[in-house]
């Protein structure tokens, strides 16, 4: 459920980047304040663990499909929310850079969807509430199962909101929600069972690890109000700044805003086309080609195709020449 660059508008990407950057800065400060050097290698290696573990698949009985471990919740349980958020962010950055899962602009969205919800909302509000200070196997398993399911639901819903707000995809809000939530409920249950089973495994083999995590030094407690308040401020500031930007540029945010009703869209498209046609007329080679309105569309699309192909050809040619010259 990685959000992709191709599906988001700069405004949405920018707001989510700002929110994520704020959360990273805040978490980094928290981790630094705690000044537990031991955690530095631990965080790094656990990130690599999540990365490696996600490559191992298991077969889900009777379905023929396969599942894997989800990261955010298990990290929160082992490291506490702040460190877990940083680890999750680093995993997603590497995935974005090397495997192009998502993309650079969508990185903010992805870190938020897969880091913020499990670490800062679900972990303190669901997992900690269920598990409490006195650990038992049943509480651990129930807590991690529920937490994984809920954080995935929130993440999926957030993907829907971001996609719809961007207005690149045509999927209407309702259809998209009805599509995403059930799929991610299924995935979430599988992830939840895996998380619960792994937590139970660790609890059986080395209970002291989870005990010390549950007693949670300064790390375990999240000041949720502070986090949310900070987030709100960041979001408001960036939204304000970006909408100010976008208003001078008609096809940015307004496009996204108008998206819900299909009509404005077409009209504004009309104007885009008209201006393109105008540009075409201005730059045309022969001054006497007077397309009628109906035909000018045909003219525009034909020139679009021809020009596109030509530009692509030229670009490849350039590349080829450069390469030849190097050799």
């Amino acid at each position: 459920m990685h959000m992709a660059d191709a599906l988001i508008s700069p405004a949405v990407g920018g707001v989510m980047w700002a929110a994520t950057a704020g959360l990273i800065a805040y978490s980094a400060k928290k981790v630094k304040d705690e000044s537990d050097d031991r955690k530095v290698p631990l965080m790094g290696v656990l990130g690599a663990f999540i990365f490696a573990a996600q490559m191992i698949n298991f077969s889900i009985p009777a379905t023929g499909s396969s599942g894997h471990l989800g990261g955010g919740m298990i990290l929160s349980i082992l490291l506490g929310p702040y460190a877990a958020f940083l680890v999750m962010a680093s995993v997603l950055i590497v995935q974005a850079l090397f495997f192009a899962d998502g993309g650079l602009l969508a990185l903010g969205c992805n870190i938020f969807n897969m880091g913020f919800f499990p670490c800062f909302l679900v972990y303190p509000l669901i997992y900690r509430k269920i598990v409490g200070k006195e650990l038992t196997q049943a509480k651990l398993m129930l807590g991690s199962l529920l937490a994984a399911v809920i954080s995935l639901q929130l993440g999926a819903f957030s993907v829907v909101l971001e996609t719809v707000a961007s207005g690149i995809s045509e999927l209407p809000f309702r259809t998209f929600v009805l599509l995403m939530q059930p799929i991610h409920l299924a995935i979430g249950i599988v992830e939840g069972i895996v998380t619960a089973a792994v937590v139970a495994f660790v609890w059986k083999a080395r209970p002291e690890i989870l005990d010390s995590a549950a007693r949670g030094v300064a790390m375990g407690k999240v000041d949720i109000k502070k986090v949310l308040l900070g987030l709100l401020v960041v979001a408001a500031l960036t939204a304000g700044a970006l909408s100010w930007f976008a208003s001078s540029n008609p096809d940015g945010l307004e496009w996204a805003m108008l998206k819900t009703s299909g009509k404005e869209e077409l009209e504004s498209h009309e104007t885009v086309h008209a201006s393109l046609a105008g540009a075409q007329e201005k730059t045309a080679f022969l001054p006497d080609y007077g397309f009628k309105k109906e035909e000018s569309r045909l003219g525009t699309s034909v020139s679009g195709f021809v020009g596109g192909a030509l530009v692509l050809f030229l670009a490849v040619l350039f590349g080829w020449i450069f390469r030849r010259r190097k050799k």
Binding site: A28, G47, L86, F98, V198, G307, F318
Partner: protein, 270 residues
């Protein structure tokens, strides 16, 4: 199963590419990072029916790949096999948006198909830009650039550490899975029970490893931050690189070069 090894091979291969030596490799990582971001924002800021206006942007990846001596086929293959999400969601556009937007000959093309094609173009452009950034720069240098841009130290330390140990842990995971598959009848994927004990054991080993690493680092005087000795310098080359590309992106953003060129050609043909 084999894709564990393949994935870490991929990571390693990208790093090998980054150790190349060209004018572009030697450029300050900050310049490349900033330019990549400007490129992506420019591409993404087009309205959703843009196709021809996006095509000239391919000049950026093509020139970087050829000047940097990157294997174009490898990158292209990587782009084509990944991230089905954009395409999956984009698939709904032709179904939802059936308004006829243009005609080629007598065949009408709906807005949905146009915007679907536009999504694919965006996807190709943004993804190749990110892959090119990393294969011209390398992950450690990107982290260095992040430090210079004021990203908090604990986070950069985390990135460096994480990256370093990906290779170790994917190797370990691969060995465990291989061992398990040798002892099982069906080698396709692991059974749930086996999977949990695999992951659980990997986790325990990871925790032990972290402790060992920590002790080893303490012996070498670790005090909580990793210091990077690498001098970075913004000289006139970097400035030219950033400004030159940005100017081109702005030009291409506000002028549909492909359309104009096409009009020129078709106009002259007529």
């Amino acid at each position: 199963m084999n894709n564990i090894g393949k994935n870490s091979f991929d990571l390693g291969y990208m790093d090998t590419l980054a150790s190349g030596d060209s004018f572009l490799h030697r450029l300050d990582p900050r310049a490349k990072l900033v330019t990549t971001l400007i490129f992506i924002v420019a591409v993404v800021s087009f309205d959703k029916y843009s196709i021809s206006a996006l095509i000239p942007f391919f000049i950026y990846p093509i020139i970087l790949v050829s000047l940097g001596g990157l294997p174009a086929g490898y990158l292209l293959k990587k782009v084509l096999i990944i991230s089905p999400f954009a395409i999956l969601v984009g698939m709904f556009n032709p179904i939802m948006d059936r308004q006829i937007l243009m005609h080629i000959g007598s065949i009408g093309i709906s807005g949905g198909w146009v915007s679907f094609f536009s999504i694919i173009l965006r996807f190709l452009l943004t993804v190749t830009a990110a892959l090119i950034l990393i294969s011209l720069t390398g992950f450690n240098a990107v982290c260095g650039a992040l430090t210079k841009f004021g990203v908090p130290r604990p986070f950069v330390t985390q990135l460096l550490f994480f990256y370093r140990y990906i290779f170790v842990l994917t190797d370990e995971a691969e060995r465990m899975v291989r061992a398990a598959s040798f002892r099982a009848f069906s080698s396709r994927s692991v059974k749930f029970k086996v999977f949990i004990s695999l992951i659980g054991n990997l986790l325990l080993r990871t925790l032990d490893r972290a402790e060992r690493i920590y002790r080893a680092m303490c012996c070498r005087g670790f005090d909580g931050t990793i210091r990077i000795i690498r001098s970075m310098k913004i000289s006139y080359r970097e400035v030219v690189f950033i400004l030159g590309w940005s100017a081109l992106f702005i030009l291409l953003r506000f002028n549909n070069v492909a359309l104009n060129l096409g009009a020129l050609v078709t106009g002259s043909l007529r």
